[in-house]
């Protein structure tokens, strides 16, 4: 399975070949993941959309440099010069779409990543002290946070933070960062609950006891044994949460309570588009909407695919063939030379 080893000649390898082997070994997991992801239509769809979004975010700025340059006539329909048309002040919609994608996706990814890590750690800690004071306090706190609708909680939090002004060292956080923090806080309870519930089910299983009684340390128990077994639902939830974060950010910005103009996000693009819709400027509303829909669809499909892929039982069906090298006759696994019958008689006597 590991190309590095099978591709190497048995003697001392020549330099370039060894380097090549190492590279291949390093690339193997990526290649395997890519192969696995593209086995089913949904997986292909998710992969294509994610790659497209990544391309927009990474390459976009070179295609459409300045989102705020008023270089063209206002409200022109999509054309060869302006692929997505222009808005009412003559700004290129493609440039704003790309800039908006960067901010929307950045906010969504950062806040979900933070919520996942923090939520999982808190959830595991709560599960390991189940019934204790920390556990109870954490659970009630998540109840409180989850009781508020996201669309209320996020603007309130970001409003409070903006008023107070948050500084990390010398850096004053701008309103994009504050937005990310607010959404992150709103998303964390889901991960706390999920991690706690999964961990509670896992810590009671025999393999945890077995690992303990065969000498595993506490850190190894928690991060080596527990975490990999609760990771699947958490990773899947993270993919869905990115989608939720994109929608929340867009909604809050649409309401004028999130990202502030002239910064572009998909939500603020929609705000701008709303007043122009009656003038027939359909392109203003179409492209941000498509962007949001595509991103949410991609991440939802990705979540579904991950759910299957992360289960080791499913990997075999994805490979389509067993991973062992040669079929082993069952007899080879039994110690030879003694019939079970004599034993049996003795057993039953």
């Amino acid at each position: 399975m590991i190309p590095a080893q099978s591709s190497l000649p048995s003697g001392p390898a020549a330099g370039p070949e060894r380097v090549l082997g190492r590279l291949r070994a390093a690339a193997a997991p990526v290649g395997r993941a890519a192969r696995l992801m593209t086995r089913r239509p949904a997986g292909i769809c998710a992969t294509v959309l994610v790659v497209l979004l990544a391309a927009v975010v990474l390459v976009g700025p070179w295609l459409a440099p300045d989102p705020n340059a008023q270089t063209a006539a206002p409200l022109t329909a999509p054309s060869g010069d302006h692929w997505m048309g222009t808005d009412n002040t003559g700004r290129d919609v493609l440039a704003r779409f790309v800039a908006g994608a960067r901010i929307s996706l950045l906010v969504a990814l950062v806040c979900t990543a933070a919520a996942t890590v923090v939520g999982t750690l808190i959830g595991m800690a709560a599960a390991l002290r189940a019934g204790g004071r920390f556990d109870i306090l954490t659970m009630r706190l998540t109840d409180v946070v989850m009781a508020f609708p996201l669309l209320v909680l996020v603007p309130v939090l970001s409003g409070v933070f903006t008023q107070k002004g948050i500084a990390v060292g010398p850096v004053e956080l701008d309103n994009v960062a504050i937005m990310a923090i607010a959404i992150g806080i709103a998303l964390t309870p889901v991960f706390v609950r999920l991690a706690r519930a999964s961990a509670l089910a896992e810590v009671r299983k025999d393999y945890m006891t077995a690992a303990r009684c065969l000498g595993a340390r506490r850190r190894d128990l928690v991060f080596g044994n527990l975490l990999p077994n609760i990771a699947t639902p958490i990773v899947v939830q993270a993919a869905f949460s990115v989608a939720v974060a994109i929608i929340v950010e867009a909604s809050v910005s649409f309401l004028g309570l999130g990202i502030q103009p002239p910064d572009a996000s998909w939500g603020t693009l929609l705000t701008d588009a709303r007043s122009q819709l009656l003038l027939g400027a359909w392109w203003l509303i179409l492209f941000p909407t498509l962007g949001i829909a595509a991103a949410v669809l991609a991440l939802t499909l990705l979540g579904d695919e991950l759910r299957d892929l992360l289960d080791p039982r499913m990997r075999r069906t994805f490979h389509g063939k067993p991973r062992r090298r040669a079929p082993q006759p069952e007899a080879a696994t039994e110690p030879a030379g003694r019939s079970a019958d004599g034993e049996l008689e003795e057993e039953i006597r």
């Binding site: 000498g215 080791p312 039982r313 040669a326 696994t333 079970a340 003795e346 039953i348």
Partner: protein, 369 residues
């Protein structure tokens, strides 16, 4: 085989061990006042029905009882007190004392391949080994228990239960260098033919490596195969301590006799086709509110009356029974003598024996199973 281990050579010495769950005011006493010693190279069985506290006892030995349990008494391994010293307990786990679990399917982490799990164990207990040596060691371990080395890349779900139990045994017996292996019903989840192979494997490994073993089971045949002496447990207490010969030929406690009678026996089943197999009436008493007298009194066929319901009997030496004296009279000379129970080997917690011991006379009659 039976030797009274001297204090200095006892590998495991448990004194007055108690495990209680729940409300301290009205605790569920799962294990009460258990004394147990295991000498080097010795194999001790603990038998009893479900709910008798035998698994709880075994887990308490390694400090694996949950946080809700209150453990009292002493557990010394190699003369080191572990009972209330989690750090010392952790040092012992896997290294000096390891454990084989009942259900091998759940005892392996489903997220890792078997090779990486065993490799991690080896790394923990043999830190001096390098990566390649470790891999070779794992392969050798698996080879010893009859699993082909290439299966290190398989996940636990790709193995059969019997294969996993082999791997479990490899992990417990071969990863560290344990002096004592605790086995918690190692064959209960396996079918009979596989069970026979596992029994054989355990016996071979013990013969090869000379480690001690505490075997918890409700399978009397397993005890006969693997143990030197045996404790019978009922309602959290040891009610009888005897040798293997003693267990089958002259069980001293009424519970032991009932247990032996309830074990299905092919010959007996054939004879009594159509009729019901013998069973023990009633169930294990409520451990939260145990009866004041002998815990077995409500189910006992040899009930003596008021004294059984009123007083808890002591675990007292049982005078050898006529049955035990005569049963092996025909055995070839010099062969059976070491396995025959000797005076003091057999102890039972029963008023009948207390009465007969007091009267200084012969043993109770009519006890041949």
């Amino acid at each position: 085989m039976i030797q009274a281990p001297t204090k200095t050579t006892d590998l495991l010495a448990v004194t007055g061990l108690g495990v209680a769950y729940g409300d301290p005011a009205a605790p569920v006493r799962a294990v009460v006042d258990v004394d147990l010693t295991v000498g080097r190279g010795e194999s001790v069985g603990i038998v009893g029905e479900s709910g008798s506290g035998k698994s709880t006892l075994l887990r308490a030995l390694l400090g694996l009882h949950g946080s809700g349990a209150a453990v009292s008494g002493g557990i010394a391994v190699d003369g080191v007190q572990l009972a209330h010293d989690p750090a010392a307990m952790r040092r012992v786990r896997g290294g000096t004392v390891s454990m084989v679990f009942q259900d091998p399917v759940n005892a392996f982490n489903p997220a890792y391949t078997l090779g990486s799990q065993l490799g991690r164990l080896v790394a923990l207990h043999r830190p001096e080994l390098g990566r390649e040596q470790r891999r070779a060691h794992v392969a050798a371990m698996l080879d010893r228990v009859g699993i082909p080395a290439h299966r290190t890349r398989s996940h636990p779900f790709e193995f059969s239960q019997g294969q996993l139990q082999r791997c479990m045994i490899a992990a417990a017996f071969l990863a560290g260098r344990p002096a004592l292996v605790l086995a918690d019903e190692p064959t209960t989840s396996l079918d009979v033919t596989v069970e026979a192979q596992i029994v054989e494997l355990i016996r071979d490994l013990r013969a090869e490596l000379g480690m001690s073993m505490v075997l918890v089971t409700h399978n009397l045949g397993l005890v006969a195969d693997l143990c030197d002496r045996v404790h019978v447990m009922y309602a959290g207490r040891f009610v009888e301590h005897t040798t293997i010969r003693g267990l089958f030929d002259s069980p001293a406690h009424p519970y032991t006799r009932a247990l032996l009678k309830s074990a299905p026996d092919l010959d007996r089943v054939r004879e009594s086709r159509g009729s019901r197999l013998p069973t023990m009436r009633g169930g294990v008493p409520d451990l939260a509110a145990p009866p004041p007298g002998c815990p077995f009194a409500p189910r006992c066929d040899e009930h003596l009356g008021e004294v059984c319901d009123r007083d808890l009997p002591e675990l007292l030496p049982v005078p050898l029974m006529p049955a035990a004296r005569t049963a092996h009279g025909t055995a070839p000379a010099g062969q059976a003598s070491d396995t025959l129970p000797r005076p003091g080997d057999v102890r039972a917690r029963c008023h009948r024996h207390a009465a007969s011991a007091l009267s200084g006379g012969t043993a109770v009659e009519g006890v041949k199973a």
